[in-house]
Symmetry: none
Subunit: 255 residues, 2 copies
């Protein structure tokens, strides 16, 4: 394979996934690590991507504040996303939000043998990531963009949301506690999420251990209505949720 062809491949993958790992590229392009590194170095020198430890990322597509959060606790988030991915099945209609944890979901789904899944989301970034999945149909809700969160909100999006009855809603929360349930900081975000979870057959809440016990300002879903809680908190901290009928999925298997 020509170096140019290989670098084009790398760029293509980068554009669609938003990030590439050296190891993945080694496997996918069947060349040595060093070659991939050299390619990444060249491409970085041409200003086509940014090299980071372990791979490379796009340079200007994701805004700053968001980008910072992206790399925070990345490892933990990926693991949580992997667990949540196991709940996804073919032919489902699924709502997903645009939080940084759920953003790891598309990568987690990538290699699973799935087909014909329709995703509904209000996050442009999520839509982009999902577009990489061959088996995904994506419906993006429109509306006014909340710049800090990079999600759309407003009456329009709620009205669009009401047309769907998802099999599964996968949401991330800013806080989760037994008395308050799942809560978020943004009123508009809460409104839209409520519109979905109320119509959803099952709901998954993903919340890292740092979210447990915290109560944010706007309620999304009371504890009783949560079908699954995906978390890396200790088992004992989750007993209260199990008493209320929530199935708790811990970070059990190594990734």
């Amino acid at each position: 394979m020509l170096p140019q062809e290989r670098q084009k491949q790398i760029l293509t993958r980068l554009q669609s996934r938003g990030q590439v790992l050296v190891q993945d590229l080694v496997r996918e392009l069947t060349v040595s690590e060093d070659t991939i590194r050299r390619d990444l170095k060249d491409l970085a020198q041409s200003g086509l991507l940014k090299k980071v430890h372990g791979g490379a990322v796009l340079l200007s597509s994701v805004p700053y504040s968001h980008r910072e959060r992206l790399s925070l606790n990345r490892e933990a988030k990926r693991k949580l996303a992997n667990i949540a991915a196991e709940l996804v099945q073919s032919n489902m209609l699924i709502f997903v939000d645009g939080a940084t944890t759920t953003l790891e979901l598309p990568a987690a789904l990538e290699d699973l043998p799935l087909s014909k899944i329709t995703f509904v989301t209000h996050s442009p970034v999520m839509a982009q990531r999902l577009s990489e999945l061959g088996f995904a149909e994506i419906i993006l809700l429109g509306g006014k963009l909340i710049k800090d969160l990079l999600i759309t909100a407003g009456l329009d999006s709620i009205k669009q949301a009401e047309q769907f009855r998802p099999d599964l809603s996968i949401i991330s929360a800013h806080g989760i506690s037994v008395p308050a349930g799942a809560t978020v900081e943004s009123w508009e975000d809460a409104l839209l999420k409520r519109a979905f979870v109320e119509r959803s057959a099952e709901t998954v809440v993903i919340a890292g251990q740092e979210k447990l016990g915290y109560e944010a300002s706007h309620m999304v879903l009371p504890t009783e209505k949560i079908s699954y809680l995906v978390t890396d908190a200790s088992k004992s901290d989750c007993l209260g949720f199990q008493d209320k009928g929530v199935t708790v999925l811990h970070q059990v298997r190594p990734t």
Copy 2:
């Protein structure tokens, strides 16, 4: 075999495969490596291909997929975006599409002294880029995502589009010619763009020199309705448009 015939063969193979290897050509055309090299050198000198270590690749292809185009001719696109940026003024309502050229627009606007501009777009990527601008309000049109183009389309988005009467529509085209006007390859994309330009007070079409004279399958805007044409084609190539009342903005100033 005549050298001309051989070189034609090489070009044919290059067109169909996107790349050619010296070794393959040696086998297929049963001549020595050196001859192939000389051929490639000639063809490269005539600007018909690009020689690389081990073979040759296409140079001026305009691939259909959005992802492949992203990093192509970035510099030229940025210059065009800079020119188009001068048409943007405070308090406007502006529609922008998600083509790779227009994607450079946010960066071009970044340092201009503007305020309160509302952007409407059907491109999640564009929405993301615009969100970095402090003075921008962004409305993202929802709908089914066309994965290859990374834009939303469908009845929903068109209905949303009809609520706006933009001061300015900034669109990119796959082809532009005097008889056919601005044209694009995707029917759904054309539908949505039409919905906007028809309601727009003024329209800007951005088209690099390689798009000039080309006619894609779906009409967006006849030449008479184009307010401004932003291009880096030679002035003489644009005379036909000026006769029809189009203001042609050339790439004049150095960036």
